[in-house]
Symmetry: D3
Subunit: 159 residues, 6 copies
C-alpha cells in the first residue's frame, strides 16, 4: 500500500514524527508531502521543511519526502495513493479533517482517509504552538525535534 | 412567516442552494441576504453574488435576494423577520451558530434562529473549500452551481 | 405550516416550554407529541404528560397536544408535517439530533428538521436533571413548571 | 498487513458494510470480529451475526469473519493485528473511539487504531437506529442489507 | 478554601488520583465525596470505595473522604464548599460537566465549579474502562491503583 | 493561593467580568494579565485595557491587573502562580483551552489550569462579538461594561 501524509510541517513537531513512525509501519511506502500552497508566511521554506523531514526519517526506509503545490487529491491521483494519513487530537481537529476527507473522497474516490489518534502526550503539540513559543523566546525542547530547534536558532543567528 | 438566510455566499455553493430550497418551502417569504461587511477580499463582488443567487432562485417564488452591510439583527428588525435560517454541518459550525444565535436574540428578541441540518452529501461543501479548489485549479463540479463555475472562469479569462 | 415537536416530556421542563412558546409563533399549527414507545419506566404516564402539556399550552391557540407510539417519521407523514422542531443545548445534543434528523429525512423526505438553540438560562435543564433532583428530594422550582411540581408531589402523596 | 474491525454488528448495517468494503482494500487480511461480551440482549445471536457478515463479504477475499468474547487488545495480540479499524461519524463517536484507541494502545502498543470517516450518506445509520425502526415496525430498506432484513422477518415469523 | 471532589469512584482510577493530587495543592481542604445515590450495581460498596480513597490519600493532609447520598448542591451547602472540582478529558465530558455545573450553580450559587483538564496520559482512563477490562480478565495495572487491584482480586477470591 | 487570569481583554466584556468576580472569591490574589504579544491590531492599547480592568475591579481587593508580553508559563513562573484561570463557553473553547493548558503544564508543571464554566447568559459574549457589533454601529449595552462603551465612543470621537 502507498499512503501519503500531507501537511505544512512548518515546523515539523514531535507529534508529526509520532504519526510518521506509527503509520510508516502500516504501509509499503509512506510519502510525507510538504504542502506549499498556503498563503501564510512560513517559518521555514518548503525546501528546508523537506530537508528536516528527510533527515528525521533517514532511518525509516518506507518513508519518502516530497513537496506539492496543489490539491491533496491531485497528488493522491499522481501517486495512486491508497490512503491519506492525518493525525487527530480533538473534536475541532476531527470536524476539520472530516470535511477535508469528504472533499478528497469526492475529488478522488480511490483514495481513503485514515485518521490516527494523536498520542496523549502530544495532544497539545502543534506547529502553531511551536511558532508561538519560539516567538516568545521560550524553549521548544520536547515539542519539536532537536534538529529543527538547532536550525531555527541557526536561521535567527543569520539575521 | 418571513425568514432570512444571511451569508457571504462567496461563492454560492450547492450546500447553500440545498438550504435555500428546503427552507423556502417553510416560509411565505425567504430573503437570502448577501452580507457585505466582511473584511476578507471577496472572490465575487456583493452584486455578482446577489446576481448568482437571483438567477439560481428564479424558480422559487418565495425567495427574494438582498444585500446588507451591517448587523443581521438590524436587518431582521428592518424586515420584521420571524426567523433567521442557518445551515449546520458539524459541532464546530454548531458552536459558532449558537453564539451568533444567542447574540441575535439579545439584540433582536422577536427573531428566532432555526438551524437546518446540512444534507450528508454536502457535509464537506463550503465557500472556503470552493475557493481552495479553484485556487489550485481543481474542478468545482458538484460543489458550486454550474452558473457560478462559468462566471468564475469568465472572470478569470477577463484578467 | 404544521410543525411537530416530539419528545418524552417526562416531565415537561421549563426548557421544553421555552421551545414550545418560541416555535408556536412560527407555525400555523404546532403539535406537541408525547412519544410513548420508550422502554424507560416513566415518572408520569403518557396521559399525565399530555395533560400537563395541554394545561400549560392552554393560552397558545396554535398548539395541539397528542400522543404517539411509533416512529416520528410515521407521525410526520400522518399529519403531513412540514417540520419537526427540536431544541439543542450543546454538541452532544447536536450530534444526536443530526442523526435523528438525517434518519427522519431518509424515512420521510417531505418533513424538515429545525433545530432551535436552547436559551442560555435553560442550558442545564432536562427531564433527566429534573428526575435526579426529585429523586434526591431537591427543589424543582425554576426547572419544571409549578403545575408539574404540584402533580409530582400529589402523586407521591398518593403512594 | 492484518487489520481487525471489531463491533457488535447487531445488526450489520449498510454503514458497517461501507467501512468493510473500503478498509478491505487497504489490508492483506481484514478480520471482521463480532464482539460477544456485551450485556445487552442481542437482536441476533453472535453466530447469526457472523453468518450475516460471512454471506455479505463472500465476494471480498481479504475478509475473514470471527467471534470474540474478551478484550479487543487480546484479540489484536492473538492475531498480531497491525491495526484496528473503526468508522467515525461525528464528535460523540470520535470522543468514544479516542478513549478506546488510547486504552488499546496501552494494553497492546503494537496495534494502531485507524479511524475511517463514515460516508455522508451513512452518517445517521447505526445498529441502534435499525433496532428502533424495527421495533416500531418501520422499513429497514437502505439502512441494513436486504439479507439481514429478510432474516429479521424470518425470525419474527418463527415466534 | 474548601473544595469538594464528588464522584462514584467505582473503582478509583489513576485519573481520579491525578485530579486529587493536583487539586489538593490548591485548597485548604479537599473533601473527596463518594456519591452513593446511583442506581447502578456497584463493583465496590460505598464504604469500600471510601476506604480505598482514605488509604490512597493518607499522605495528603488537606484531603478528607466522605460519603453522600443526595444532591451535590446539598453537600456543597452543608460543607459551605467554595468550589466543586471535576476532571474533564474531552468534549463529551465537557458537555456533561457544563450541565451539572450550571444546575449546581442554580441550586447553590455560592459554590463554583472548577474543571481540571485531565492529564494526557489519563485521557482514556475511567471507572467504566476499568470495569470492562476487569470483566474480560485483563490487567488493570496502570489504570487503577495497585491497592484497588489487590482488593478487587481478594473480593473475587472470596466468592 | 495566587491565580492568574490571562487574556487579551480587547475589549473587556461582561463575560470576562463574571469570570473575574467568581474566581476572585477563590484566591488570595487574582492577577488579571493583559497579554500584549498578539499580532492583531487592537481596538484599545494594552495600557487602556489595563486601565479598564483596574477601574472595573477597584472594588475587588484580591484583584491586581498587570500586562505581559511573553508566554503565560513564564508569567506563571515569575509570579509563582498556583493556577491559571480560563472561562469556557463551549466545545470549541474547550478544545482550544485544553491544548493551552497541556502546553502550560509542559512548560511550567507547578501551575494548574482551572476552567470555569461561563454563565449561560454570557455564552455568546466575546471580545470578537463586541468588536463586530461596534464596527457595525450596534449597541454594546449588556455585552461590555458601560465604562468600556464610553471609552470606545470617546476614542472614536477623537478621530
Amino acid at each position: 500500500m502507498t499512503f501519503i501524509y500531507p501537511g505544512s510541517f512548518d515546523p515539523v513537531t514531535n507529534g508529526h514524527m509520532d504519526i510518521i513512525e506509527r503509520s510508516a509501519r502500516l504501509a509499503d511506502k509512506l510519502i510525507v508531502v510538504v504542502m506549499t500552497n498556503t498563503n501564510k508566511k512560513p517559518l521555514f521554506t518548503a525546501a528546508e521543511r523537506a530537508g528536516h523531514l528527510r533527515a528525521l526519517t533517514a532511518g525509516l526506509p518506507a518513508v519518502e519526502v516530497d513537496c506539492w503545490e496543489g490539491l491533496q487529491a491531485e497528488y493522491s491521483a499522481l501517486k495512486e495513493a491508497d490512503a491519506i494519513i492525518r493525525g487527530v487530537r480533538n473534536c475541532t481537529d476531527f470536524d476539520f479533517e472530516m470535511q477535508i476527507a469528504q472533499a478528497n473522497k469526492l475529488l478522488r474516490p480511490e483514495t481513503e482517509t485514515l485518521l490516527i489518534p494523536a498520542s496523549g502526550k502530544y495532544a497539545c503539540v502543534s506547529s502553531g504552538l511551536a511558532k508561538e513559543i519560539a516567538a516568545c523566546g521560550g524553549s521548544l525542547r520536547g515539542i519539536v525535534p532537536d534538529l529543527v530547534i538547532e536550525d531555527y536558532y541557526r536561521k535567527r543567528g543569520d539575521k
